[in-house]
């Protein structure tokens, strides 16, 4: 590798970057703001999605056995479910325990033992599945098992939570795309201005036989730097905001089970910076390309 070539190239990039410092600052600032908004949105989005998932994970399927069920049939079902990968956990509630629970739920106002000579409750199996989407299918399947009388689950709640999840996903994709496009347009316009400011230099490069790739490269780097600096600043703001606001948020919204650290995960940081850089590259590629064609 020719170190002189590298030095010349980096020198050109740095010179252009610093010469249009005001313009670059504007681009970086705007990208940072866009990505802060994006990050804040992702935070709310994750919190809501997490909330929905928490609720969904608590959904239980209640399996009531027939009164004449044999304990062999009950054991067979419990063993089968224990080996089913879709099942998160199960809890067997014998009829006697069921009565005690009922009594506890009514704060002792029903004293079953004094009213009843016989326990009317069936044996019950509580089932939790891993994937909330599979609740309905699992319920249908359980219904067909020998010895099973009825299967219940909060059908309404499950349907609503699943819809909420789907809406959040679509909304998320839409809003993220929108933010990325906005950042891209801003970077693209900045690069177009710098291209315009350097049109004389570009025309000389073309005149002496520089290839389009060679002309393009410094601008691409410029866009990349805009995107990366912008998103780094945004990440910094987001991390600070998260540590400053998180405890207050927990106090203000105790009823929301927020996930522990949805924002400062290194993955999200890497994603935001990579997104920023990628937008920069694409946006500058397009705006220089437009200039080179004409």
């Amino acid at each position: 590798m020719d170190s002189g070539k590298v030095k010349f190239f980096l020198g050109e990039v740095l010179r252009n970057f610093t010469r249009n410092a005001g313009m670059q600052a504007t681009a970086i600032g705007t990208v940072a703001m866009t990505i802060v908004l994006l990050g804040a949105f992702l935070f709310v989005h994750q919190a809501l999605a997490g909330l929905g998932n928490n609720l969904l994970n608590q959904i239980e399927i209640s399996v009531y056995f027939k009164s004449d069920v044999s304990s062999a049939q009950e054991d067979a079902l419990r063993t089968a479910l224990a080996h089913d990968p879709r099942i998160a956990s199960t809890q067997f509630v014998p009829k006697k325990q069921g009565l005690t629970e009922l009594s506890a739920e009514t704060h002792g106002s029903i004293d079953a033992s004094s009213l009843l000579t016989q326990n009317p409750l069936p044996d019950k199996l509580r089932v939790w599945v891993h994937d909330p989407q599979g609740v309905a299918a699992m319920a249908d399947e359980l219904q067909t098992r020998p010895g099973v009388d009825k299967v219940f689950y909060p059908q309404d709640v499950v349907a609503r939570l699943l819809t909420l999840g789907a809406v959040l996903r679509r909304l998320g994709i839409g809003v993220i795309a929108l933010f990325l496009i906005v950042a891209g347009v801003i970077i693209s316009n900045t690069i177009r201005l710098t291209v315009f400011a350097r049109r004389r230099e570009i025309s000389i490069m073309q005149l002496v036989g520089a290839t389009n790739m060679y002309i393009r490269a410094p601008f691409i780097c410029e866009g990349l730097l805009d995107g990366i600096f912008g998103s780094l600043i945004a990440v910094l703001i987001l991390v600070v905001a998260r540590y400053a606001l998180w405890p207050k948020l927990l106090l203000a919204l105790p009823w929301i089970q927020l996930n522990a650290s949805p924002i400062d995960g290194p993955v999200l940081v890497a994603q935001l910076v990579a997104a920023g850089g990628a937008i920069g590259v694409v946006a500058s590629w397009i705006s220089v390309g437009r200039h080179l064609r004409t």
Binding site: D2, S3, G4, K5, F8, R19, R200, E201, S203, I204, M205, Q206, L207, V208, G209, A210, T211, N212, Y214, I215
Partner: protein, 236 residues
């Protein structure tokens, strides 16, 4: 070295800049392209370095069929050509050295070639002692010499000059013309578009005269105006 056959150029607004031009320029020739402003001199030069494509005809430059050239091959053509303009086209924030080196660096030249070629080009135009100065600190003649050094630094076989002395006073004009002649003597084919009558009449080189996009005269050792000796003045 340069060949145009039945070349016409009609701009989109309908203006016919060149009309059925046929011209042969041999290796090592020195040719003046003369005529009033708007007669197609600059258009002809632009065709040679693929800044403009002809509406009709064939153009060959150093064995390359220019009008058929794919866009991606244009840089390769331009590395065979040096081009000099009336307005110098120097970068004001780069020194003389950097301006000349720029032409090599942006074509991906090796640093050791840059270090060897740039001083050579600056020596040739007599600006080695001003290599650290900026264009704004130079006279018009020196700026044009910098531009010529830049055009020559890649050792082109052909040098195209579009009104190279248009912005210069007579003494600088003489200086530049002598430089172009020296370059020509080293074997470079030189094509100069100009409407400077004094220069053309003094140098007595091949003169190709354009009028309304057509070649009207083509004389070895010619004058600016056909058949006129020095000292005869024709108005208009």
């Amino acid at each position: 070295m340069i060949s145009l056959r039945n070349v016409s150029l009609v701009y989109q607004n309908g203006v016919r800049a060149l009309d059925n031009v046929t011209l042969e320029i041999g290796k090592g020739d020195f040719v003046f392209l003369v005529g009033h402003s708007g007669t197609g001199k600059s258009s002809l030069l632009r065709l040679l370095y693929h800044e403009q494509l002809p509406s009709n005809g064939e153009i060959t430059v150093d064995g390359i069929r220019v009008e058929r050239l794919r866009r991606s091959r244009v840089p390769a053509l331009r590395r065979h050509l040096g081009v000099v303009f009336q307005d110098f086209k120097l970068l004001s924030d780069k020194t003389v050295w950097e301006n000349v080196a720029f032409a090599m660096q942006v074509t991906g030249a090796h640093t050791k070639d840059v270090m060897r070629q740039v001083p050579r080009a600056l020596d040739l135009v007599g600006l080695a002692h001003k290599s650290r100065m900026y264009p704004g600190e130079l006279s018009g003649g020196e700026q044009q010499r910098t531009a010529i050094a830049r055009a020559l630094v890649n050792n082109p076989k052909i040098l195209l000059c579009d009104e190279p002395t248009g912005n210069l006073d007579p003494s600088n004009t003489t200086e530049i013309m002598e430089l172009l002649l020296r370059i020509n003597l080293k074997g470079t084919t030189v094509l100069v578009a100009t409407h400077n009558q004094a220069v053309v009449d003094r140098m007595r080189r091949r003169v190709v005269r354009l009028e309304d996009g057509r070649i009207v005269t083509d004389e070895e050792r010619g004058y600016y105006y056909l058949g006129l000796g020095q000292g005869q003045i024709l108005s208009g």
